[in-house]
């Protein structure tokens, strides 16, 4: 699952993007609202100071303007304190100034427009402070008009905003991390059915299950149903092909039997040569049918999930049959197969492979044949040893060739080992020949194993006709 294609990464990244955008936008909006609130508060305070200043203005008997009493806030007395007032005449600026202005004064811009009401400016003031200024024009009882202004350092607003911004950033960062974690948890929970689906699919692929089991959420269930339908459809197709192959074999059985009878009839009439040819051709046809049936089965077993067979039972049956077949020779057939060993494939194919190999070993053995099996990772490893003459290392590659017979004296069509090789390859297994510790040939066979933990899938047996190996 690559980073770019992962649904989880995409969802988490998407969530992270909108969380960051929303929180940053939220923080900016909140900061601006708070700044507006703070400035309104500063102007409200300035309004009270302005009222007090205007109330205190009085004109002395000599016509000079004065302040009857000091303003109550001590910051008006402290130089450069950040809180100032000033009274300007219409022609002359700075008739009266707060002590806090000290050797500086407010440079109010000339404005005549809003004479009747208070309005504000932003100015630069003493010591490079940025000032919020509230100003209005009043006409004194002496008919003299003056501009009265109070101002406060904007740094107090900025200071509060900075501290507020720091707290806001920390808390929003924490909130963002929390939201991100919640989004992550949500994505994992939401994608859990997909992970379950992946596990179910793996079970099907491993042959542990024939269909996707379990309930899935409404968004996923249709997909699961479709997949199941597809797999059932595939299985049905393969099954039909197998049934047709079986029917074909069955249909050919009677004609072949008739031909075999004809060969016997020819034999009785003395046409031994023709009879032999006929018999030979009938046997070849029978072998071809067996071979194609085995191939169809193996292909089906590979495609249809959930097929398995118990290796031990298969081997026991074969041993009994072979013991009867070679009863006269005093042959010792030993088998050692653990009960739990499962071959992932059709029982018929298991019998075809092991039957051919065991039969071969029995034909060549002097007195002993031994079959041992064990599991090796995902595979079953089967060793078949005999104490016969064996095969030269140089000649071993030829042993599996179709139609090749190692010894013309021993009866057989030469198709057996070729069938074994094809079947093993169809099941993606491996087969090799080696020297046996018993003195003869060792066949080293590896086949796919099925896991014992899952319940076996019951599969209907197809119509299967035709002879054994």
């Amino acid at each position: 699952m690559t980073r770019a294609r992962s649904l989880r990464h995409r969802l988490v990244l998407g969530a992270a993007a909108w969380i960051v955008v929303a929180l940053v936008a939220g923080a900016l909006v909140i900061t601006e609202l708070f700044r507006g609130h703070l400035e309104r508060q500063v102007y409200a305070d300035l309004g009270h100071h302005l009222d007090q200043l205007i109330a205190g203005l009085e004109v002395g008997p000599d016509g000079t303007l004065g302040l009857a009493r000091q303003l109550s806030d001590p910051r008006f007395r402290k130089p450069y304190s950040g809180l100032y007032w000033q009274v300007d005449g219409m022609q002359q600026g700075g008739i009266l100034r707060s002590r806090s202005l000290w050797d500086d004064m407010l440079g109010l811009p000339p404005d005549e427009i809003e004479r009747d009401q208070a309005h504000h400016h932003t100015l630069s003031g003493p010591a490079d402070q940025s000032l919020l200024v509230l100003e209005r024009t009043v006409t004194l009882p002496s008919a003299q008009a003056v501009r009265v202004a109070v101002a406060a350092d904007a740094a107090q607003v900025e200071g509060v905003l900075t501290a507020f911004g720091r707290i806001l950033a920390v808390s929003f960062a924490a909130l963002g991390l929390g939201l991100l974690a919640a989004a992550g948890v949500q994505v994992v929970l939401a994608l859990r059915p997909l992970n379950a689906l992946r596990r179910r699919l793996a079970e099907v692929r491993d042959g542990r299950s024939a269909r996707l089991a379990g309930d899935f959420p409404g968004e996923v269930q249709p997909l699961v149903d479709d997949l199941n339908a597809l797999m059932e459809h595939d299985a049905a197709l393969v099954e039909r092909a197998r049934v047709q192959a079986g029917n074909l074999a069955h249909g050919l059985k009677t004609p072949l039997a008739i031909l075999a009878n004809e060969a016997d009839a020819l034999d009785r009439k003395g046409a031994h040569e023709q009879a032999a040819v006929l018999r030979e051709q009938v046997m070849r046809m029978q072998r071809m049918i067996d071979y194609q049936l085995a191939q169809a089965r193996a292909a089906a077993a590979r495609e249809v999930p959930g097929i398995r067979c118990r290796l031990g039972e298969c081997v026991d049956g074969l041993r009994r049959a072979l013991e009867r077949l070679h009863a006269g020779r005093g042959l010792l057939i030993e088998t050692d197969v653990p009960d739990a060993l499962l071959f992932r494939g059709e029982r018929e194919d298991c019998e075809e492979i092991l039957g051919n190999l065991l039969d071969n070993a029995c034909k060549w053995a002097r007195s002993r044949v031994r079959l041992t099996a064990d599991s090796e990772g995902d595979e079953v490893r089967v060793l078949i040893d005999d104490d016969g003459p064996g095969i030269d290392a140089a000649a071993r590659a030829a042993a599996f060739e179709r139609g090749r017979r190692m010894d013309e004296a021993v009866p057989g069509s030469g198709l057996g080992l070729a069938i074994v090789r094809d079947l093993v390859e169809l099941y993606r297994g491996r087969i090799a020949l080696a020297d046996s510790p018993l003195g003869g040939l060792r066949v080293d066979l590896r086949l796919p194993a099925a896991r014992a933990t899952e319940p076996a899938v019951v599969k209907p047996q197809p119509a299967r006709q035709g002879g054994g190996p």
Binding site: T64, P79, Y80, R97, W102, D103, P126
Partner: protein
């Protein structure tokens, strides 16, 4: 304290109409600044900040024989109140008063 009172009386007696109108030291400060007799207060404050640590409590401008002197009252970090006298034209530190002056120096 009597010196300050005396100087204020002297100032009121001697200075011109502008100072009389309001009679406060910040008006004298502005008048002196405009006459080029003192440097701006912000320059004095910059010097104070450079040389001493502490919170500024109060600033006054005194005039003694046509010589302006800034009197800066500081609350030092260890809680002492000190007074610093600066020549308002040259920014030179003329005199200090109070304990803890040396501790408050940067």
């Amino acid at each position: 304290m009597w010196k300050t009172l005396l100087s204020t009386v002297l100032v009121i007696a001697l200075t011109g109409a502008a100072a009389v109108r309001a009679g406060e030291d910040h008006d004298r400060a502005r008048a002196a600044l405009r006459a080029g007799e003192v440097v701006p207060l912000r320059d004095i404050l910059a010097v104070v900040e450079q040389e001493f640590r502490g919170e500024m409590l109060e600033i006054e401008l005194d005039e003694k024989r046509r010589r302006f002197v800034y009197e800066v009252k500081l609350l030092t970090p260890d809680g002492s109140i000190i007074e610093l006298y600066y020549d308002a034209r040259t920014k030179a530190l003329l005199k200090t008063e109070g304990r803890g002056v040396e501790d408050a120096r940067r």
